[in-house]
Amino acid sequence: MSYQEKNITVSLVSHLFIMVYYLVNLFPIVQSGEWIAGRLYGLWAIVIGVNILVTIIGSILTNILLTIVEAVRSRKYEDPRFITDERDNLIELKGTRVSYITFSVGVLISVFAFIFGQPPLMMISLIFVFSILAEIVGDIAQITLYRRGM
C-alpha cells in the first residue's frame, strides 16, 4: 500500500466516523420531527469543525507515523519519498469528479425534498449528509483506482 493509499484510507475512516456521528445526532431530530434551528446549527458547526481538524491532524499524524514505521523497518533514518506524481494527481482528479457528481445528485435530492414539503432545515441537513457522503464515495473511488493499478 503506497503512501497516498494510506493517506486516503485515513481520510476515509475519519469521514466514516464523522458520518456516523452526524447521523446518530440527526436521527433523534428526524424522529421527533422537531426541527430546532439552534440544535442543528450546533451540530453543523461541530461537523464542519471536526471535519477540518480531522483532515489536517489526520494528514500530519499519518505522515509522522509512516516516517517512524519506515525508519524502524529500514533501521536507519532516511527522508522517505512521500512524493505525489502525475498518476496520483490524475487519480485525485477522478476521485474529485466522483465526489462532485455525488454531491450534485445529493443537492438535487435535497432540493426536491424541500419542494415536496419538507422543512428547509431538513434540506440543509440532507445537503450536509450528501457532502460527507460525497467525500466518502470520492475516497472509495480513489482507493479502487489505486487497487486496480491504474
Binding site: S2, R81, I83, D85, E86, R87, R148, G149, M150
Partner: protein, 77 residues
C-alpha cells in the same frame, strides 16, 4: 478510428541497464514505484514529459522505449 494503445519496453530496458530496480528508475524520473509498476503493466499511459524523462533515463530515443500499437483482444478488456 482504430483503437490504439501506448506500449513500452521499460521492463526489458531495466534488465538491460544493470538490472535497474523499479525503485531506482522511479527515483531517477521522479515518480513513485507504483507508477512504474502501472506503466510496466500497461495500465497507465504516461504524460509526454514523463515519457521523455524515462527515455532520457535509458539514454534512448522515445520511439525505442514507447510505441503506439493497435489494441489486441487481451489489452482492450
Amino acid at each position: 478510428m482504430e483503437k490504439r494503445q501506448v506500449r513500452n519496453n521499460i521492463r526489458k530496458l531495466r534488465f538491460q541497464n544493470n538490472e535497474m530496480t523499479q525503485e531506482q528508475l522511479a527515483e531517477k524520473v521522479g515518480v513513485t514505484r507504483q507508477t512504474i509498476i502501472a506503466l510496466e503493466g500497461g495500465k497507465y499511459a504516461p504524460s509526454l514529459e514523463l515519457a521523455f524523462r524515462i527515455s532520457l533515463a535509458f539514454g534512448l530515443p522515445l520511439t525505442e522505449v514507447f510505441s503506439y500499437e493497435a489494441e489486441t483482444e487481451s489489452t482492450s478488456k
